[in-house]
C-alpha cells in the first residue's frame, strides 16, 4: 500500500520519557582482559551499532526504504501493523547480514530465529519489535582497526564481536512542544537493521570511534549499509564503566543513540571522566540510561521510570526459523531465495583491512598514510589512479595526497571522491615536486590553481608560463646569496659566533624571498654555508 497514511496526532508529554533500557549483555563483562597494572581508573566500553540495511525494501514488507520521502508515504499495511498482516522476510536483508557477519569473522548460525520484544511506544505500531534475541544470525567474531594512541602513534588493535542480529527499525516521533502534540512518521518503521554488539573491549572515545569507523567502512565496502550518521543509517549505543585494572568491572551506564563519530568520542570521554569523579569523591555509579547533549558536551540521565521494563520476549510465531545454506547443503533448499554462505564468502570484495595490507605490502606505505587513504571515501582508488600516471615513489605520492592535497581539500571542504583535480593532473604535479622542476610552494599553488579554475594546460606548461621553475644553477643563485650576506651583517656575525643553524635558516628565508620562492633551498643552503665558512676563516 503506497497510499499516504494520515498523520496521527495526539498530545503528549510522557513521550519524552521513552527509555529502551534493554537488559545488556552483563555476562560479557566477566571476560574483560586486564593489560595494565597501574592502579588508575580505566574506562571499559562495549558498543551496540545499529546499522540500517541498504536494501530497496524493508525487512518484512515491500515498502521502500528511501530516505527523505514525504511523511507516511512508504508505509505498507504490515508497517502500519494493520490487523491480520504477517511478516515476510526479505532475503536481501539476510544476505546483507551474512556478508557483514563474514566480514566480522563471526560464526554464522545455520538456523536463527526471530523474537518479539514488547514495549509500548507511539512510533512502534505493532507494540513490539521483531528482533533476534535468542538465536541471532551470527555470534562471535573480531575486527582489526587502526587507532591513534595518546602519543599520536598509529597502532592496530582488535576488538571482539558478541553477535549480529537482524531487527526492525521503529518509526519516528516528531514532537511539537508548543502545540503539545506528537506526529508519527512510519516511513522508517520496519526498515531492516543489523545490530552489532561488541565485547567490552574499548578504553576511550577515540578507541570507540576508530572501531565504529572501521565497521562503517567495511559496511560501505560491502554496500550493506550506506553508513551515514546524518541520515540516521547508523546509531550507536555505548555501555560505559570504569574500574581499576586489578578489580572487577564497575557499574555501567548506557549512553543511547549517538548520532556521529564525534558525539560517540565525546560522550564516552565525558562519561568516563564523570564516573571517575563520582568514584573519586566516594560516590557510586548507578546503572542508568543517559543521553548525550552535543551542545554542552555532557551526558544527561534520561527520565528513567521505566528502568525495570520487562520486554516479555517471545518467539515470533509468524516466521519459520531462518535457514542458511552452504555449497554442500544448498541443493536441499526448496526456497529459491535462500542464502548460500559459501557463495557470499567467494564474492567478498576486499575489505578495508585487506586494502590496507595490500598498500603496506605492495608499496611499503606508512601506517598513517594507509589509514588516511583507506578512511577517505575513494581515497585508495584515487591513489592507485595517480600511481598509474606518476613516476614518483609510492610513499612520495601518498605523502603528497595525504599532506598537500588533503590539506587544501579539507580547507575547502572538498572530498576526494569529488576531486576537481584529475589523477593524471595530480600525478604531474607530484612529479614536478619530486623532480624539483618547481618548488614546494609553487606545487601547493598549482593545486590551488587547478582546484579553483578550469585550466586546460598541463601543470608543466603552467609552471613554464608563469616562470615557476625552480632555479637550480649555482651561477644564478650565488649572486643572490652574496647580496643577502652583504645586507645582513648581523646574521653573519651570529653565524660566526656559533649559532649556525638559526642564522642559516633566517638567511635562507630571505634568499628564498629574493628569488620569489624559486631558488633551490638545498642548493642555496650549500652556497651559504660555503660563503659563510669562507668568511669565518677570515
Amino acid at each position: 500500500m503506497a497510499a499516504p497514511m494520515k498523520i496521527c496526532r495526539f498530545r503528549s508529554c510522557a513521550l519524552y520519557s521513552r527509555i529502551k533500557s534493554k537488559p545488556k549483555h552483563s555476562h560479557l563483562y566477566k571476560h574483560c582482559r586486564h593489560n595494565s597494572t597501574q592502579e588508575n581508573w580505566k574506562g571499559v566500553i562495549g558498543l551496540e551499532i545499529h546499522a540500517q540495511i541498504n536494501t530497496k525494501s524493508k525487512l518484512f514488507s515491500a515498502s521502500s526504504t528511501a530516505f527523505g520521502a514525504p511523511t507516511n508515504t512508504q508505509v505498507s499495511i504490515f508497517d502500519a501493523a494493520l490487523p491480520g498482516t504477517l511478516p515476510v522476510l526479505n532475503g536481501e536483508c539476510v544476505r546483507a547480514g551474512v556478508k557483514t557477519a563474514i566480514a566480522l569473522n563471526s560464526k554464522i548460525n545455520k538456523v536463527s530465529k526471530f523474537d518479539r520484544k514488547h514495549y509500548f511506544y507511539a512510533d512502534l505500531p505493532q507494540g513490539y519489535q521483531i528482533t533476534q534475541q535468542r538465536q541471532p544470525l551470527a555470534v562471535g567474531g573480531e575486527v582489526e582497526y587502526i587507532l591513534i594512541d595518546q602519543n599520536n602513534r598509529y597502532v592496530t588493535k582488535t576488538a571482539r564481536i558478541t553477535q549480529l542480529q537482524l531487527e526492525q527499525d521503529s518509526g519516528r516521533s516528531l514532537h511539537d512542544e508548543e502545540g503539545r502534540q506528537s506526529l508519527i512518521d512510519l516511513n522508517r518503521a520496519g526498515i531492516g537493521l543489523m545490530e552489532i554488539v561488541t565485547e567490552p573491549d574499548f578504553e576511550n572515545g577515540i578507541d570507540c570511534s576508530s572501531f565504529v569507523r572501521e565497521v562503517q567502512l567495511m559496511m560501505r565496502q560491502l554496500q550493506v549499509c550506506l553508513g551515514s550518521f546524518r541520515e540516521g543509517a547508523l546509531r550507536v549505543d555505548a555501555n560505559i564503566s570504569v574500574h581499576k585494572p586489578s578489580e572487577p568491572l564497575g557499574v555501567r551506564s548506557e549512553v543511547k543513540n549517538l548520532g556521529s563519530l564525534k558525539d560517540l568520542r565525546n560522550a564516552v570521554d565525558y562519561e568516563i571522566k564523570r564516573q571517575k569523579s563520582v568514584l573519586k569523591n566516594g560516590g557510586t555509579v548507578i546503572n542508568e540510561t543517559r543521553t548525550f547533549d552535543s551542545e554542552s558536551g555532557k551526558t544527561i540521565p534520561m527520565r528513567d521510570k521505566e528502568r525495570l521494563q520487562d520486554y516479555r520476549f517471545m518467539p515470533e510465531p509468524n516466521l519459520p526459523p531462518l535457514y542458511l545454506y552452504n555449497n554442500s547443503t544448498a541443493a536441499q533448499s526448496r526456497d529459491q531465495n535462500t542464502t548460500n554462505i559459501d557463495e557470499e564468502i567467494q564474492n567478498m570484495p576486499p575489505l578495508p583491512r585487506d586494502v590496507r595490507n595490500k598498500l603496506i605490502n605492495d608499496y611499503n606505505l606508512s601506517l598513517r598514510n594507509v589509514y588516511v587513504l583507506v578512511n577517505e571515501d575513494k581515497g585508495v582508488t584515487f591513489f592507485n589512479e595517480v600511481m598509474k600516471y606518476s613516476n614518483s615513489p609510492p610513499n612520495f605520492i601518498a605523502n603528497f595526497i595525504v599532506n598537500d592535497l588533503l590539506g587544501v581539500f579539507n580547507a575547502n571542504d572538498i572530498k576526494i571522491r569529488n576531486s576537481p583535480i584529475s589523477p593524471d593532473i595530480l600525478a604531474e604535479i607530484v612529479d614536478i615536486k619530486e623532480s624539483g622542476y618547481s618548488t614546494v610552494a609553487y606545487c601547493s599553488q598549482l593545486v590551488e590553481l587547478y582546484l579553483k579554475q578550469d585550466i586546460t594546460e598541463r601543470p608543466k606548461t603552467v609552471v613554464d608560463n608563469n616562470g615557476w621553475r625552480q632555479i637550480v644553477d649555482t651561477e644564478t643563485l650565488k649572486p643572490v646569496c652574496v647580496k643577502i650576506l652583504e645586507e645582513n651583517p648581523k646574521l653573519v656575525k651570529k653565524y660566526c659566533k656559533g649559532k649556525e643553524d638559526k642564522a642559516l635558516s633566517s638567511l635562507l628565508m630571505k634568499a628564498l624571498n629574493e628569488t620569489q620562492m624559486k631558488g633551490h633551498p638545498v642548493l642555496m643552503k650549500k652556497i651559504f654555508t660555503e660563503l659563510l665558512e669562507e668568511q669565518k676563516q677570515k
Binding site: 495526539f10 503528549s12 508529554c13 510522557a14 499495511i77 501493523a81 516479555r312 520476549f313 510465531p317 526448496r334
Partner: protein, 509 residues
Amino acid sequence: MLSLTLREAISKLKDGSLSAAELCEKCVTRAKRVQELNFIVTENFSQSQREAVHSARLWSEYVSGRHNEWRKFGGIPFAIKDNFCTKDIRTTCASHILNNYVPPYTATVVQKLQDAGGVIIGKTNMDEFAMGAGSTDSIFGPVRNPWNYKFSQSGGEQDKTNYWHITGGSSGGSAVAVATGASFGAFGSDTGGSTRNPAAYCGVVGFKSTYGRLSRHGLIPLVNSLDVPGIFAKSVDDASLLFNAVAGHDTRDSTTVTDSMETFTLPDDISVKHLHIGIPKEYHAPGMSPCVLEAWRRAADLFERAGAKVSEVSLPHTQFSILCYSVLCCAEVASNMSRYDGIEYGHRAKNEDSTEELYAATRHEGFNDVVRGRILAGNFFLLKRNYDNFFIKAQKVRRLIAEDFRQVFGGGVDILLTPTTLTEAPTYSWFTEVDNRTRAEEQDVFTQPINLAGVPAITVPASLSQSGLPIGLQFIGPNFHDKEVLTVAKWFEQQTNFKRLDLSHLDKS
C-alpha cells in the same frame, strides 16, 4: 432451493436449471427472515446481489455456449466471520476497538473465494476476538442457535426468554449462516475448536485443515501458531470443494506449506474396510451426555460392521492440553493485542493527557473483560521471571501432545474418532451461569488438542439428541492427510443420512 448443497447448486448453475441471481436473492431473503438470530453483524446484501446478477449473466453465456469458461462459485453466497479482513467492508472482530475499522485489503482465503466467483452476503457474529466458546461475548450481543428455536412470526418479537440454545463458538454466526440456508458455506476460524464446536451445535460440517495449508494472511489472529481458517459447509463434499478452492501456499503467509498441493475430489464410492479407526480412551471425559456417548458408540460400531478395524488408543497427555492451551493462548494474545493502541486505526479514547493515559483509556474502552483478562495473564506468563515456568513448559507440553498424535498415527491408526463436544448445544441461560474462561475450558476439551498438534479434523453431524438438537462427531487424521479425513467423514455422512435443518416453513409465513 436453499436445501441444495453447494455441490448440487453448482451443477444446477452449470446446466442452467438454476439462476445465480435468484439463488442469491433467496439467500438474502432467508438471512433477513432469520435476522433475529443475530448472526450477521455487517450486511453486504445489495453488493452481493449485484455481483450475483453479474454472475448470472456469465452463467447464461456459459450455458448457451457463448463462453466455455466458468467460475466455480459464480454468484453463490457465502458468509465470512468478522475476523477476516474484507476490503471496504467493516471488520470488527466483534470488538469496540475495531468498531469503525474498514480494512484496505482482503484476506487471502476470502480473495480466493471471490476470485472463484463467490459473493459475500455478510460478516458474521462471533465472540470478541474469537475468545470464547459460545458466541455470546460480542459487542453485538449473543448469537442464537436456529435448532429448536421459536422464530417470531413476521414482524413479531424475538424470543425474550433465555432458554434458547447457544450456537457454540467462537464462529457461531458462520455456523448459523450455513445451518439456516442463508449461505452455501462460510469461513470461521479455528484456534481451539472455534469452527468445529459451533458446527457441531448447529448441525453442519466444520473442517479445520492441517496448519499451514490455508493462508492466515488477513485473518485477524487469536493465536498465530494455532489459528487455522475454518470451513463451514452443508456437506463433506462441500467442505472439500471449498478447501480445494482456497488451500495452498501464500507468499504473504510464511507459515503456509511451500509444497504444491494437488487438488482432489472425494470419491462417491468409499470403502473403509482396510482402515484402522482409533478411539482415544482419554476422550471418555466426565460430563459427557448420554446421547453424545451413544452417538459415538454407534459410529464406532458402524465402522466395525463395515469391516474397519476399530480399537481403543491412548493420547496420554490429553489431560494437560487445556492448561497448555491457556498459557500459549494468553501469551500470544497479550502480544497480538498490543498493536491496538488507537494510533493508526480503530477506537481512540478521548483522554490524551499523555501517551500512556491515551493507551490505557483506549484499550480499557476497546476490549471486553475477557480480552483484558487474557492480556493480563499472557503478560504475566511472558515476564522474564515466569517465562521458563509457564511459556517454555507449555511449549514442552505442546510437543508432548503433538507427539501423542504422532505415536498413534505412526502405530497404524488411520483416523481417530471422537465426539466434538461433551453435550448438545446448551441453553443461553445455563451457559452464562459461569464466566467465559470456565466455559471455554470445558467446551474446547475435545477440540483444542488437535490445534496444539496442528493435525486436520472435521466434525460431521451424526444424529439428533432426544430433545432434537444435533450431535457432531469428530474425525482426526495425521498432518497433511486432509483428503483422507474428508473421505472417511464423507463415508460416515453417507451412512448416517442426517436430516439438515429445514426452515422452508419460514418462507411461507
